[in-house]
Amino acid sequence: MVAEMKHKGLKIGLCLFFAVMIVATVAAENIYYDSLPFVTTGEAKKAGLSESFDLVGHVAYGKKKNTLFSEFNFQSVTFLKQDGDTVAEGDGIYSVSPEEVLLLQKTLELEAETLKEANEAISETGDLSYLEKDESLQYEINTLKIKETEKKIARLQELYAAGGVVAAGEAGEIRYLGTSGSAMSAGAPIAEIEGDSGKRWITWQLPAETGVLFGTGDSVETTLSVKERKAAMSVDTVTVSRHVSLTIEEMEFSPENQSYSFKASVPEDLTLDMADGTKLSLVFQYQSEVEYGNVVPTQAVIMDGQNEGYIYVVNSRQMVYGKEYYVTKTHVEIQRSLPTDTALTNLPEDAVFVTSSTKELTDGAAVKLMEPEEEEEEEQTEEE
């Protein structure tokens, strides 16, 4: 009886052991495959490098600066506007006391008279032919001085008639260069007026890595979009797009921002309502003129600590339990790199490389290849 039970127990034990081994085989397989990272793969193509740009630009009105200088030595100049004020043509910018103007005028008149008398002393008739050379030269100098002085006198008379107020010759934003109430020497700058030069620019910025693709004189075929009001008094806007060709006229690199600023004139045939500072949407593409032998997605290239690039190339090997895919770290030389594509050299021919992975990869690590249907499903899930 005991022996029979022992026998039965051993048979059950043996069956149980093999059952556990069968279940463990299936479980171990699942555990192993679940631990492997999913990777998407790609192949290098022979193509030029292209990059799409979709960025925000601005409309900028060209400015020109006009500096106003003091015409005479004034004892006290009073500024009539504040720094940053917008002045129209004819607006008073600064004033001088009429008495001072009159005093200057009379002083100059006296000066002119003195010069005239000096000339009369040299030649009453004005005939210089019988004069010595130095005398005729002095006569001419005096004559020229008289003309200059008379001009100044005429200007002072105008100023006196205007009550000592100097007006702006053009519209713009004013900036004073001195202190109100202080003396001003003749020829000293008093104010600057920054006015509209009439030039219209479209400006945009690009990071250094993509900005280097363009140069002054390059043409950029872009789709330009701007929001316009549906009607003059309406708050509703509509996006209007135009396809234009912009020629880069200026570009400047900013070391602080590590970016390039670009300026292109607004095409004359572009009839969009664009005020100074209007935001624009610019969409354009860059295509390299040179064709590269190995162009891969930039996300496939990884930079290591020594700033050298490498990619993971997918290979297959026969393992004890079947075929398995694994990755090998392959160093590559980067010819040129853009945010989307990178051109490489010394990539093995027909190499299949990893473009993305669900886990961090190491050299020799086993991987699972994501099927194209699974990749689409994952992209759809990400979008949702």
Partner: protein, 277 residues
Amino acid sequence: MRKKRSTAVLFTVMLLTAAVSVFPLFSVFLNSFTDPTSLALSTENSSKLFFLPYPISLSQYYSSILGTRETLHFFWNSVILTVPVLCGGVIVSLLSGYALSKFRFPGRKIAFFCYVLLMLLPIQINVVGSYLLFDKLHLIGTYLGVILPGIFSPFGAFLIYQFMKSIPDNTLESGRLDGANEIQLLIKIVIPQVKAGIASMVILMLIDCWNMVEMPMAILREENLYPLSVMLRYVSASDPRIIYASTIVFTIPLFLIFLLLKDHLTEGIAQSGEIKA
């Protein structure tokens, strides 16, 4: 007094010998329940022997069975090789033993002599000949190249021959007179009388086949076909901490089957002793 002293000395010697024999397996069994990290640390720093596992952990078994696929893969390779050899070997041995023991045909003695000679030769000598033969038969790199030599092993036929010799010929004659053919005689009369012998043969063939190393290494070219007896070193090389658990897992089916059939084995040994007597 002298007899008691000599018995005590003999007993001590036997005990020590048994301890030395059993200790490796005992150590493997205990160390299989030791945490792999502490096991690795201890073996790095010293060559201490562990008598009690501390801390007790089943993580070695988990790592061996579920943590790596190799152990189970090679385990099933062992099963794939062993089961056909056992089943085929039993059938072929019964038929050969019956023919050698109960039939009189020209060349019977020469055939029996060849069986004994082959049985006495070490397997290493047979390997080269087997390789050349199976190469001509295009069986190199296949399981059949390992299974066929196991099935037609001379040891099983010899063992069954010894057990069948004791069956009286008149029993078979009376069966023949009743109209039974040879196969019926074998199945209904002979086999029930040599169950102990069959059990002995199964155990011994199982041990031989489960632990075989030379034939798989010679015949099978690909590592993924090797049994666990060959690849246990590979499994432990990939992760030395699971060697103890893998060894125990490898031993368990053999142990269970032995326990199941050991009564028949002892009965068989007893019967063969009676036969000799």
